[in-house]
């Protein structure tokens, strides 16, 4: 079963590399959203440093949404989803593999960009490592919850907008604890609790959402 999951992940990574556009688009969008803030708020360094963590987290959430709607839609359009459904691998595991592939092709590139954006937003030096660590811990939840949203909207022609409305409320806990953990470590107060909650939320999402998403896919295709 693990071999099957790995071959799905490898397939999705290969497709993403070959199409290329979606990952670069997400990265470009991430940078653009963050760049807009200094223009709107002004170049005052104290204010930028104060909002930097929140802005980078929000931009990451929005960028993540951008590529979610294609997660199952492409497989639905070319008939691969039907084949997965009657195939030997449980649909729950297929969903899990696709969420992991989404995380690898979307969140990981975003995390690699955060140091540059941190410099741009005047993020205090002691905040860089905590920011990347919390994003590494928190973004899997974004992909897994997003997978649930994508499976619910797979048969809708313009599912992207409703997907955002559906999913963003569930991203709020990730945002809260992600920002709190970084702020706490910048201020020098203990951040362990926030980080643990963030990791716990990701694990919870990884354990629960594939079941719901698989059920939604089955219901949607009937």
């Amino acid at each position: 079963m693990l071999k099957l999951a790995l071959s799905i992940i490898a397939r999705d990574l290969r497709l993403s590399l070959r199409q290329g556009s979606s990952t670069t688009m997400v990265m470009g969008f991430f940078v653009m959203v963050v760049i807009l803030f200094p223009f709107a708020i002004g170049p005052e360094q104290a204010i930028l440093a104060r909002i930097s963590v929140g802005v980078i987290w929000i931009a990451a959430l929005l960028s993540c949404l951008l590529s979610l709607d294609r997660m199952f839609q492409a497989d639905h359009e070319d008939g691969a989803l039907d084949q997965f459904m009657i195939g030997p691998m449980p649909l729950e595991l297929v969903v899990m593999a696709k969420c992991i592939a989404h995380w690898l092709t979307t969140s990981l590139p975003l995390i690699s960009l955060t140091p540059i954006l941190g410099i741009m937003m005047n993020l205090p030096p002691q905040g860089f490592l905590p920011l990347m660590l919390t994003m590494l811990l928190g973004t899997p939840a974004l992909s897994f919850i997003g997978g649930l949203g994508a499976s619910l909207t797979v048969t809708l022609r313009r599912g992207g907008a409703i997907l955002s409305l559906l999913i963003l409320p569930f991203y709020i806990p990730v945002l809260i604890f992600g920002v709190l953990a970084v702020r706490a470590s910048i201020d020098g107060s203990p951040a362990g609790g926030h980080i643990m909650l963030l990791g716990g939320f990701s694990l919870f999402a990884a354990a629960m959402t594939p079941w719901a998403a698989a059920a939604a896919l089955r219901a949607g295709l009937e």
Binding site: R11, G79, L221, E222
Partner: protein
């Protein structure tokens, strides 16, 4: 309700050809057998085992070729086939030989071309190659000839007759003659079982029997 009172049997080495007007439920019946659609009621048995909706049995024994080919446009013929073969032969170390199968459907020269560069007929041949990569002995084919040229249709007929000769079973939905040996195939006109035509069954009941 699409159809009721349906009753059929497919012996090993036999084919069942579903025909009937558009909307008479040919594709739906195949999807019900593949557990992609739920049946309101009915029985589908192999031996004494009821397999209606039994995903585990279906995944090992049914090979379903739908209208859509199930192939990734951005991957080559060989990559697509290797992927599906690895899915289907995950528990054994030996799988089908992709090169042989590509040659069998006449795609040996474009095994390293992405599917999006192929014509629709060639893509359909690649989908047939995917069927050949499947260990399942029961083929569900939904309009398998769509997009195929005369040579392709003849090739398909050859593949299907070979499959039947080896004791496999085929359930195919088609409007045209698929070229299967007439001794081995039976026709089923879905129009006979549509709610308007059939007054035979009072209850909403379908009885489907394989084997």
């Amino acid at each position: 309700m699409i159809f009721s009172g349906l009753d059929f049997a497919v012996p090993p080495g036999g084919a069942l050809i579903l025909n009937g007007p558009n909307g008479s439920g040919k594709s739906s019946l195949l999807k019900i057998i593949a557990a992609l659609l739920p049946a309101h009621s009915g029985l589908l048995s192999v031996g004494s085992e009821d397999i209606l909706g039994d995903r585990d049995w279906i995944s090992r024994n049914l090979c379903y070729l739908a209208h859509k080919n199930g192939l990734k446009p951005d991957m080559t013929v060989a990559e697509n086939l290797t992927f599906w073969a690895s899915m289907m032969y995950h528990d054994s170390n030996i799988g089908p030989n992709i090169n042989d199968i590509a040659a069998q459907v006449g795609l040996a020269h474009c095994r390293d071309l992405a599917i999006r560069f192929l014509s629709s007929g060639q893509a359909r041949r690649a989908a047939l190659a995917r069927v050949l990569c499947h260990p399942g002995r029961i083929w569900l084919l939904d309009e398998p000839t769509v997009g195929l040229d005369a040579n392709g249709a003849a090739l398909l007929a050859g593949l299907m007759n070979d499959h039947l000769a080896q004791g496999g079973r085929i359930l195919a939905a088609s409007h045209i003659n698929l070229g299967i040996d007439p001794d081995k195939s039976t026709g089923l006109d879905m129009a006979d079982f549509s709610p308007g035509a059939s007054r035979r069954s009072v209850y909403d009941r379908a009885e489907d029997v394989i084997c």
